[in-house]
């Protein structure tokens, strides 16, 4: 199927731009992605969590459209792209604050290792029966998360976490 046909399909059923991240290939796939999505929310300061969730809602459809360009007629499921956005966004937010700098750097380093390993060592990509992992989703997710970081700071000054 042509990718533009897919894009048109997404436009006729726009909710799919959000729901594709919630659909998974199995329980284990869903649990791992949920775990990955939880990590930045646990690490992020409580005052940023709500806004992070809101920004991820905005990132989700943009990420879906970006992934469409990499599918070559295929289908996509999984929240890991969105999790990568959250890792990048929370990583930068944490690194921005002196008190949590090392946590942010650690989160960003783990994300970088994941993306580099998938890009240059495809044999170690996670996957399952009947589907293969799509590294482009993670690259797009991380890039969009980094680009969306300023939205976390709109209308407020990020203060140092009280010790």
């Amino acid at each position: 199927m042509n990718r533009w046909v897919l894009a048109a399909g997404a436009c006729s059923e726009p909710w799919r731009l959000w729901t594709c991240h919630a659909v998974h290939f199995g329980l284990w796939n869903a649990l791992l992605n949920l775990g990955a999505l939880a990590v930045p929310f646990v690490l992020a300061p409580a005052r940023l969590r709500g806004r992070m969730a809101l920004v991820l809602l905005l990132v989700a459809p943009v990420l879906s459209l970006a992934i469409l360009a990499s599918l070559e007629g295929g289908a996509y499921r999984g929240a890991s792209g969105l999790a990568c956005s959250a890792w990048a966004m929370a990583g930068i937010a944490l690194a921005w604050d002196r008190a949590t700098r090392w946590e942010g750097v650690g989160l960003l380093a783990l994300l970088a290792v994941k993306i580099l390993a998938e890009t240059y060592g495809k044999a170690i990509m996670p996957g399952g029966a009947g589907w293969v992992s799509l590294p482009a989703a993670h690259r797009w997710g991380a890039a969009l998360g980094a680009l969306a970081f300023p939205l976390l700071r709109v209308g407020r000054t990020v203060r140092a976490t009280p010790r």
């Binding site: 775990g35 990590v39 295929g74 399952g128």
Partner: protein, 293 residues
């Protein structure tokens, strides 16, 4: 007097021969270099091997062989089609197009001296065992060189003109075709073409050298186009297999997953267990750090 007459007659004959000789330079000429895939694979038309009905199962990563099809005109070399010494550099162009592909583990350039004219799949079986390859790309060449005299080629009659005037218009057309076969199952997988046109001119004295130079340039350009087309055809082949368009072929990846079964179209976003554990370890370390401070 009679002696002078004989001398004039001899000079006249010599001049006529010289003019005829130069006229030879002034006629169009066609040179063909050809190596045919069909003559090599199926020399006895009625006895062509039937592909394995079970089809081909390609186990990734592939061990791929690259070779020029030998010319059918006797001898073991593709010397008629490919100048000696240029075979490997030309095949290296195609090899370069595949070197970064994760689905190819090794690419072997096989000298055409190991391929017998009309050798067919029995010959390929020998080569396959010798080089440890299971898939081979057979490259055949069809090159035609046209030489046409330009309007001022009559100036060759001055003899000096044949040395200094580039009155020969050369046109070298090259068509290269690479067909990839799975040797054990005798299955044709895909093909890709490459073509080029090289135009030039030369003096009749340097004609042969110029034609050889143009032939080499034409082969090089056509091989580069072939390498590009091959990459496109491979992608199209993968899509065909994944969508069930090629029922005679299946591709099994490093994880043992069949491309036909997965459809090659089901993509998922996933975090591995180790990645989630590393994230949770970071959470634990952050919690400890915050508790201490």
């Amino acid at each position: 007097m009679a002696h002078a007459r004989r001398l004039h007659a001899a000079l006249g004959v010599f001049a006529a021969l010289a003019i005829l000789g130069h006229m030879g330079c002034m006629t169009p000429k066609t040179t063909t270099h050809r190596s045919g895939l069909m003559e090599y694979l199926y020399p006895a038309r009625k006895d062509a091997p039937i592909p394995n009905p079970a089809g081909a199962q390609l186990q990734l990563p592939l061990r791929l062989g690259l070779a020029f099809v030998p010319s059918g005109g006797g001898g073991w070399r593709a010397a008629d089609a490919i100048p000696a010494g240029t075979e490997r550099p030309l095949l290296d162009i195609v090899k370069g197009a595949f070197k970064d592909k994760t689905w190819v583990s090794e690419i072997k350039v096989i000298p055409s001296t190991y391929l017998m004219p009309g050798g067919g799949f029995r010959n390929l079986d020998q080569v396959s065992r010798m080089y440890g390859v299971d898939v081979i790309a057979l490259v055949s060449v069809d090159q035609i060189q046209y030489t046409d005299p330009k309007w001022y080629s009559f100036a060759y009659l001055s003899v000096v003109g044949a040395y200094v005037l580039p009155g020969e218009k050369n046109d070298t057309r090259t068509l290269i075709d690479a067909a990839i076969f799975h040797i054990p199952s005798r299955t044709f997988l895909l093909r890709a073409p490459g073509q080029s046109i090289v135009k030039g001119s030369s003096t009749p004295i340097s004609l042969e050298a110029r034609l050889r130079e143009d032939a080499g340039k034409g082969l090089d350009l056509a091989m580069r186009e072939l390498a590009k087309n091959m990459a496109v055809e491979v992608e199209s082949f993968k899509t065909d297999v994944a969508t069930g368009g090629r029922k005679d072929v299946d591709v099994v990846d490093q994880k043992g997953q069949s491309l036909r079964a997965t459809g090659g179209r089901n993509f998922g976003g996933a975090f591995g267990g180790a990645e989630v554990l590393a994230g949770l370890a970071l959470v634990a370390a952050a919690a400890l750090r915050r508790r201490r401070s």
